[in-house]
Amino acid sequence: MQVQLYQFNLASIGTPPQAWIVRWLWLIPAVPMVAAGIIALLKQAQKRLSSALAISSLSFSLLLSLIAFIHTLSERKLFLYFGLDPMVHNTVNFAWFHFGATRVDLGWVLDPLAAIMLVMVSFVGLLIFIYSVGYMAHDENFTRFFCFLSLFAGAMLGVVISNSLLLLFMCWEIVGLTSYLLIGFWYQKPSAAAAAKKAFITTRVGDIFFFLGIVWLFSSSGTLLFYNRGFGSIEPLSLAILSTQHAGLGLSAAGAIALLIFAGAAGKSGQLPLHVWLPDAMEGPTPVSALIHAATMVAAGVYLVARVYPLMSAGAPPGGTTVALTVVTWVGAATAVFAALIAVAQNDIKRILAYSTVSQLGYMMAGLGMGGVAVGMFHLITHAFFKALLFLGAGSVIHGCHEEQDIRRMGGLKVDMPLTFITYTIGMLALCGFPIFFSGFWSKDGILEAAQHSAAIKGPFYLLVFGALLTAFYMTRQVCYVFLGYWRGRETAHESPKIMTTPLAILAFFAMALGLIGTPAWPWFHAILEGRAATFSWHGFAEPGLGMLMLTSSLVVFLGLGLGWRLYGNKSPKPEEPDALEKSVPWLWGPLRDRLYVDEFYDVTVIAFYRWWARVADWLDRRVWGGIVALVAWIFALWAQLNRLLDVNWVDGGFDKTCEEISEGGGLLASIESGRVQNYLRILAVAVVALVVILFWSSRP
């Protein structure tokens, strides 16, 4: 069987024999998806079974992901040992369908990028699954929730391992669908339903551009596979062609396609013009916010950009950059500051985190734009851990405060919820980029360093530094409101159950420890993604300007923390009281609180246009088309009346007569049906004898 499979592959695709794990990689997304299917068939009451199914399926995926990761590492070690290029893309491709001479291929890929993402998604996902068991314990739609979560995890893992832009797009859309379903999970709440719709439609805007990009890529390169032994669409052969075609506006075809794909990524990752859905998405259950809208799905956009990075950077002069990357950089940097500004003036605990997520995604995009795959991906991974931690911490706080989400009605929780407080603080310090001990510092530092080295323009660098200041400030504000001071809510808070705090602790550990694999002294993570050997040396710190930069960013963080402490520290203002910042700079507060009027802007432009267009369409429908339809209906009614007259008078009489005859004949035949089995058997046997006799008689010469 094994041999046959291999031969089949060889004959149809030309893939060489692959390791066991590569051939079975598809199981990683398939198992949670199958689990989702099974859970969908379970009754709502079977809570334990459904959660056990979901968790065990994702554990299985995690196990396979770890095997895949180890496989990648060992392969890399082997290749490095023999002095070969360690950037191996293990692919398994197969033809989905043919039309004419064209063939659409699908496939999956195992390379360092995918392997790291696999481990991250399945690990964080698993922790959040476990957390959800506690968080959703009393929800009556528990089973449905786990069905969606499993489906999401499967689709997200599918995005990660796709080797075809088309397969990626399919999984991408399933991810979008589950996001919609989960945001609107409490669809009885009008706000949740509206938020779900908003998320779906807004990301759809980006996806249309994405799809255009896919079509363009297919028409000009003839394949949608990323890697196909030198013939994939983002391998040098195809890139050389793409980067020489001109698409107008000074762009090459590669650049234009990259920008279109980036539009899709921007929609998913909440980049600047399309970021509006992400804060609203916090209407969903908190584990969803943590899983989808902080750790994994929104990172899918970043992952997509990292995946098609060769396309983005195609045709760049040595040491220079391309139009596409510049756009990515500026959009990212602008988003980072823009969202951080808004986050300063929000009062909903999850909304602050949502804007913070948008801002951090901007960082990742900027990092990708300026520093390459490794820089952006490192921040993605560290962010996934500490942001999931923050969201789960927020969920724990909300759970403990009896579904209260307004930070002005909390306070003093460090006494009531010590575990949550400690882990949340770790997450907050990691997010702020507190020096040395927290992973956020190293990943953010990498981005800043890349921005500083980016020769052409310094704008993004200053924006990002300002963003870092704001990040430290608003996080301090939030922590002060929630955990310090005294309790301002109604009922007293309580600590969450073990099943919720355990994932928090694990995530907190990683939020601190993950920084170790990406320090300048031992850039192991970057080495893996860029195919270099990882060496440990303290000289990594001795790069020119690095020390200065680290000092600057540390100072900025301390400045932010200090500012926050000065304005909010231990003060516990009353809920009605105006915010400290509002008191000092009221002219700035208003616009920030109202999210810089982006929603309103969309309301009066895009949505107003659609309203007007809907009214026009409605009028057309009622007056013009409706009239025509009514006319046609009237004509047919007339015709039907005529037919009825014919039927009653002519046809019915003849039919009745026929029926009588048939029923009489039937009665005659029915007398054979004695109802006794042996009678039938007897007739059958006689008939057989007769037939055989006839047969032999007729065949005689």
Partner: protein, 104 residues
């Protein structure tokens, strides 16, 4: 009887006739089923005899038919006897000439 094949075929024919006779003359539904099983077995014997003495024994056709029909007979017996039991529950008898509710 010149050939062994004819011998087997005649035995099968006789067994078939015995089975048919049983199915026709007995009143109990279970015995009718037994008769039918005998007929089926007679057919099996034919299949295997043809396989053994036929022109292409290496093609396994007759043997496979035989094996498949043995397996199908198991299904047939299960369903048939299940039906007999169900009928017995409804009519409180397994005598076939008392069961004629399907009379047309």
């Amino acid at each position: 009887m010149t050939t062994p094949l004819a011998g087997y075929l005649l035995v099968a024919a006789l067994l078939f006739a015995i089975g048919l006779g049983g199915a026709l003359v007995r009143r109990n539904a279970i015995l009718v089923l037994i008769g039918i099983e005998l007929m089926l077995n007679a057919a099996n014997l034919n299949l295997i005899a043809f396989w053994r003495y036929g022109p292409h024994p290496e093609a396994l056709t007759g043997l496979m038919f035989g094996i498949f029909s043995i397996a199908i007979a198991a299904a047939e017996a299960a369903v048939g006897l299940g039906l007999v039991i169900a009928i017995y529950r409804h009519t409180n008898t397994a005598e076939l000439d008392k069961i004629d509710r399907m009379k047309g």
